[in-house]
């Protein structure tokens, strides 16, 4: 009787360890995959910006500085050589700068109704909005997945196998408020804020 009980307990414990370990590994891979998704979207944005800038350059002769800022921020972001969740601080800094530069551009476009009247600009705005949204949603998915992963590996009793699964807390993608505060949000269109 005794050995049998012991055996059952052992089997149950082993089954739990395997399940917890596999759960952590699955979450770890999901987190990595979610990070790849951000990368994909950022690359897409980097490729898109030169085209966008060329498209508006003619129409926006008077806002050279805004365009320059976008180009510069873009080149900075492309230069960042870090990869993977480890380099997240570096990447996010450069990308946040680019985001705020793009936002400024969008604000400028909003401010000049005659700009928006040309068909090209409408498409451009849609593309810009979509690109920014894609980056934001990829970031959101990463942060959600990473939070889940972090919570799981810190919670008892899963924390006991965290070492076995080589689980490290993943850094979240912070959105810096300073960048956004620096943008003068002038909106005279009386449209409801999203």
């Amino acid at each position: 009787m005794g050995p049998l009980v012991l055996l059952i307990v052992l089997v149950v414990v082993a089954a739990w360890v395997i399940a917890a370990y596999n759960g952590l590994i699955a979450l770890k891979n999901q987190t990595l995959n979610a990070f790849k998704q951000i990368d994909v979207q950022l690359k897409r944005r980097h490729d898109l910006i030169p085209n966008l800038v060329n498209a508006v350059r003619g129409a926006m002769d008077f806002e050279k500085s805004t365009l320059e800022a976008v180009i510069q921020a873009r080149n900075q972001a492309v230069k960042v050589n870090a990869t993977g969740p480890e380099g997240i601080k570096q990447i996010s800094q450069a990308e946040n700068a680019l985001s705020s530069a793009l936002q400024r551009l969008m604000v400028v476009v909003e401010q000049y109704p005659q700009l928006r009247a040309t068909g090209n600009i409408g498409q451009l705005q849609e593309e810009l909005t979509s690109t920014e949204n894609k980056v934001a949603f990829a970031r959101q998915l990463y942060n959600d997945t990473a939070t889940q992963y972090n919570t799981k590996q810190q919670q008892f009793p899963t924390s006991l196998v965290a070492g076995l699964a080589k689980a490290q807390p993943a850094d979240l993608w912070e959105i810096e408020d300073q960048g956004e505060k620096a943008v003068p949000q002038v909106d005279l269109s009386l449209k409801p804020k999203t």
């Binding site: 979610a34 998704q37 979207q41 409408g122 498409q123 849609e126 593309e127 909005t129 979509s130 949204n133 894609k134 949603f137 990829a138 959101q140 998915l141 942060n143 959600d144 997945t145 939070t147 999203t194």
Partner: protein, 333 residues
């Protein structure tokens, strides 16, 4: 982040997988009952027939009907999404032609990223009434269709909320169960129409011998099953879709972080007068808002509550508003 609460995605996926299997097994079993039941009744009737007359000893009906049901289920699984889309007359957007189409494609791409699923194929139904539905067998093979009316009526944010709701259905595998159900409901309706024409007593063979009461009871139950089949199928469709609308609303809020946009989209959809004529009864339970609901409520009164495929819109809007205001409060502090 935790606004939408723990959604228990995996449990929901598991439940949907299981329910799809139960549905298919139940479907085949039901036809087996009709077939073998018929065989048995025929056997009892022909048992006492004279020696030279036909004796029904081999259960042909049962075997044919069971195999037929299994084949229909398999066929439904393989072609269900195409059939559903075909029945609504949707056209696929391959290359966006206009600004609105471009925007729809962008919005779907954004939401697919937020949901972490591959981008579904995108379809437009040329119907002026705002509505949307999703179909498919899993996230890798999924379709999202919206009506032209929805595109015309909704702002970008509202469209985003609606698309996110549909992707919620895709991600938690609601689409598999609901598409399967649509395929099977359609098959039952079709077969019922066809077979009741065959079964209708043409020349009743005058039988002097009275059949035993057991046979009569069996016969009655069997006939009732035939008559009830489409109704049972309909009720299944109703029960299956109501609760999951709330869950998909919550998932939409989780993906967009903007429950108020979906709330205002639902309000616009509810406010639109016309029913969605392109979407027939068989696919009604797939839609974000009941395409037939208004007819139901106006004609059948009390039954509307029991027969609606969708939960009351006012309640869904209230829940979404609640989420939205909770979020605003959090941000302010």
């Amino acid at each position: 982040m935790s606004d939408a609460g723990p959604l228990n995605l995996f449990q929901q996926q598991e439940a949907n997988r299981r329910r799809t299997v139960v549905l298919v097994v139940g479907f085949v079993a039901f036809f087996a009952w009709l077939g073998f039941g018929g065989d048995y009744i025929y056997y009892l009737f022909s048992r006492d027939a004279p020696r030279y007359a036909y004796h029904h000893t081999f259960p042909w009906f049962g075997i044919v009907l069971s195999l037929g049901a299994a084949a229909i289920a398999w066929y439904g699984y393989r072609t269900g999404p195409q059939k559903v889309l075909w029945s609504t007359g949707a056209r696929e957007i391959v290359e966006p032609q206009s600004d609105t189409e471009r925007q729809l494609v962008n919005v779907v791409e954004e939401m697919a990223i937020a949901a972490g699923v591959p981008r579904p194929r995108i379809w437009i139904v040329d119907d002026p009434d705002p509505n949307a539905f999703a179909t498919g067998t899993d996230p890798q093979h999924s379709h999202i269709a919206v009506t032209q009316g929805l595109l015309d009526l909704c702002t970008r944010d509202e469209l985003q909320g609606v698309v996110a709701h549909e992707l919620g259905h895709v991600k938690n595998l609601d689409v598999r169960l609901m598409t399967m159900l649509a395929a099977l409901v359609g098959a039952v309706a079709l077969m019922h129409d066809g077979t009741s024409r065959v079964l209708r007593p043409g020349g009743g063979s005058s039988d002097e011998r009275k059949p035993s009461p057991l046979v009569l009871i069996l016969l009655v139950v069997w006939i009732v099953s035939w008559i009830l089949a489409p109704i049972i199928a309909q009720l299944l469709a109703l029960g299956v879709s109501r609760k999951r609308e709330y869950l998909a609303d919550a998932m939409s809020a989780q993906f967009t972080r903007n429950p108020l946009a979906l709330a205002s989209a639902l309000q616009k959809i509810e406010g639109a007068e016309a029913p969605t004529t392109h979407i027939k009864r068989g696919a009604a339970h797939l839609c974000i808002a009941d395409p037939l609901g208004r007819r139901l409520t106006s004609h059948e009164g009390v039954f509307a509550d029991a027969l609606a495929t969708h939960p009351p819109m006012a309640k869904r809007i209230a829940i979404l508003r609640g989420m939205g205001y909770a979020q605003l409060k959090q941000e302010r502090h």
